[in-house]
């Protein structure tokens, strides 16, 4: 092993940059709290009320800032008998020790300020404790690397004869080995951005404006009064088309920015027993997922993405012992060969192409249409009675849209399974696929509505530590068979689900 330049056996403090981070964080929170107040100042109403709130918030912020800074000087970490020890507390001394073998992963994060001072934020993920994460705001880059290598190397040594608990392979010099699966260049990034779900972006914009509107109203600005100043518009075709085009443009733009900021320079790496994703423009974020923590994987696309052959891959993992903290890692812009390599490294030869896939019962569609039609007829009747033609047309279009959606959904829904894996496919315009190792199932439910029980149908729901997977409208006979089979596998499989 490389000789360490740092002595971790004596109490170490975080880098002084951490103070800056703490200040930055507090200011950030204060600004976020103050946005409505600031907006009021900008608009120019309700000055008296605003200043009280301002003083109050700044007062509290100052106090918490001082507290955090004192806390910084009282926080130490060191290594003792294969344990990482944290000491903290302003009024009360608190000492937390984390045994190395309980450390699941050590992740780094770097935002712009971190990059300027070449420090890192460290997140330590542990198993078997209520609080599953420990954070250091800022530690010198080299020191952090060395700390991680040291911990992982020790951990591996202790575990050299046991199971594959270790998160990453360690070279002889103590650094880790990673094999790249894929990287996203700037061109790919733009492709990903362009093919995002733009309707979601429009929704985000609307939510944002609505939020501002509400906040303004809350602090006593009569927004509707201002809107009277806006000259009446004539709602003709051109204006609507321009508005829609503008909306589309803005949403594409926002999707692009969002993608570039979060996924800039994305690297998707494979270590011996896990994956690692590094990405980010301002904040360089590093997340890792150990194989045994991944509960199931899913991938999806939409019409645009299918056209260029991109998929969003998700690694859904359970975290912490209680596992109610769900974390899923999204890797955009995956292509078929990347997906195959991920499946191969997780499940070996999955033999998906030999898997027999089944369709669900078509009553999934007909029953839905029947219920929806009743609702629609009532609605249409009322609208015709009151001679409200415009809502009637809108309602009809919506009705047809929902029926079409359900039909597409019926044609997409498929499922299949073999000894090891359950495969469920779905989606409406795009495809969404889920692949679940059967032994990771936590519980199973067979659910029947009155209609379903009359017709010998049911939904079968598989609960995992990272969300549930459902197959709707299959025959009860088949569902019983599947559940007998799967429960048998869960009960006889002695692999750890986490």
């Amino acid at each position: 092993m490389r000789k360490s330049d740092f002595d971790f056996t004596v109490p170490n403090r975080q880098s002084y940059v951490a103070i800056l981070m703490i200040l930055f964080k507090t200011i950030n929170i204060v600004v976020r709290q103050l946005i409505p107040v600031l907006l009021v100042f900008l608009v120019g109403g309700a000055k008296d009320k605003g200043s009280y709130i301002l003083m109050g918030v700044i007062g509290i912020a100052l106090l918490s800032m001082i507290y955090s800074i004192i806390n910084f000087f009282k926080t130490y970490f060191y290594i003792e008998n294969n344990e990482l020890v944290l000491q903290s507390g302003v009024f009360q001394r608190k000492k937390t020790s984390i045994p190395f073998e309980r450390i699941q992963s050590i992740n780094f994060e770097q935002n712009i300020i971190h990059q300027l001072f070449s420090v890192l934020k460290i997140k330590i993920d542990t198993a078997g404790s209520e609080k599953s994460e420990f954070e250091f705001h800022a530690i010198e880059e080299q020191k952090a690397q060395e700390l991680r290598d040291l911990i992982l190397a020790q951990k591996n040594q202790n575990h050299s004869f046991s199971t594959s608990e270790d998160e990453a392979a360690v070279n002889e010099d103590g650094s880790m080995v990673f094999k790249p699966i894929m990287t996203l260049g700037i061109a790919d990034l733009f492709k990903v951005g362009f093919t995002e779900n733009h309707i979601k972006s429009v929704g985000l914009i609307l939510v944002f404006f609505f939020w501002i509107y509400q906040n303004l109203q809350e602090v006593g600005v009569d927004v509707d009064e201002y809107s009277e100043d806006i000259p009446e518009w004539e709602w003709n075709g051109t204006i609507i088309i321009t508005l829609v085009a503008l909306m589309m443009f803005v949403s594409v733009f926002i999707s692009l920015i969002r993608t570039v900021v979060t996924h800039f320079d994305l690297q998707f790496l494979r270590s011996r027993h896990g994956f690692k994703v590094v990405s980010g423009l301002f904040t360089k974020k590093e997340t890792s997922a150990a194989d045994h923590k991944i509960q199931y994987i899913s991938w999806s696309d939409n019409l645009l993405k299918r056209w260029i052959g991109f998929k969003d891959l998700r690694l859904n993992q359970a975290s912490g012992a209680e596992a109610n903290l769900k974390t899923s890692i999204k890797i955009p812009g995956c292509q078929d060969q990347h997906l195959e390599s991920v499946i191969h490294s997780l499940f070996g030869d999955a033999q998906l192409e030999h898997m027999e896939v089944h369709r669900i019962d078509k009553r999934y569609f007909t029953r839905y249409v029947f219920l929806l039609s009743i609702l629609y007829l009532i609605f249409a009747g009322v609208m015709i009675w009151f001679e409200l033609w415009k809502p009637l047309i809108a309602g009809t279009i919506f009705y047809i849209y929902l029926v079409g959606n359900r039909y597409l959904s019926l044609t997409k829904k498929k499922y299949g399974y073999h000894d090891e894996l359950l495969y469920v496919q779905g989606g409406i315009f795009g495809d969404k696929s889920e692949l679940l190792p059967i032994f990771k199932i936590q519980a199973l439910e067979i659910y029947q509505s009155p209609y379903q029980s009359k017709n010998g149908l049911c939904n079968i729901i598989f609960f995992t530590a990272s969300g549930k997977i459902q197959i709707p409208y299959i025959s009860i006979h088949l569902a019983n068979q599947i559940s007998d089979n799967f429960i048998y596998k869960v009960e006889t499989d002695h692999r750890k689900w986490m």
Partner: protein, 174 residues
């Protein structure tokens, strides 16, 4: 570790379709009727309380609308409480526990013992009057997959909990 992968004839697997579910304790029916009555009473009290401040609620037609709605709701809830009892039941197998519920919307949940995180016994004030408890079984599958079996005699609930804990422990040793 020796690897084995015997083929299992699917017909020879234990099947859930011929399980007979054990009924809950008979006095659980009384408890569910009592708790539904309390619930309906609370609605009535809230209405009367609010009406004390808002006069219109005590006048025609609102008082009539409420009286009708309330009596229909109350009788429905009580009928459901009485009927629901016959549809609820649990079954314990060597390696898992099953729970069945729902009059109209039926559901069967299966939890293998080797996926149980922990168990809890709870006893509400009404439960205590009848000496009953409920047993909750938690998995890592999230709150929607956690089981809550109500209406167990206190001793039986303890016994069940002990049994499940033993099974879980045994499974961990293997």
């Amino acid at each position: 570790m020796s690897f084995s992968n015997h083929q299992i004839q699917s017909a020879s697997l234990p099947t859930i379709s011929d399980i007979t579910f054990e009924k809950l304790d008979p006095s659980y029916r009384k408890i569910s009727v009592i708790t539904s009555c309390i619930f309906c009473l609370v609605i009535l009290i809230v209405y009367l309380f609010v009406g004390y401040f808002i006069d219109i609620l005590y006048h025609w037609p609102w008082i009539l609308v409420f009286a009708l709605g309330w009596s229909v709701l109350t009788s429905l809830i009580i009928i459901l409480a009485i009927k629901g009892y016959t549809y609820e039941g649990f079954a314990i197998r060597e390696k898992d526990i099953l729970y069945q519920s729902g009059i109209f919307f039926k559901s069967v949940v299966i939890i293998p013992f080797n996926r149980v995180q922990h168990c809890e016994i709870e006893q509400g004030p009404v439960d205590r009057m009848f000496g009953l408890s409920s047993l909750s079984i938690f998995t890592a599958g999230g709150s929607s997959s956690d089981l809550n079996i109500p209406g167990l005699a206190h001793d039986k609930a303890n016994q069940l909990k002990q049994f499940i804990t033993n099974q879980v422990a045994r499974d961990e040793e293997e």
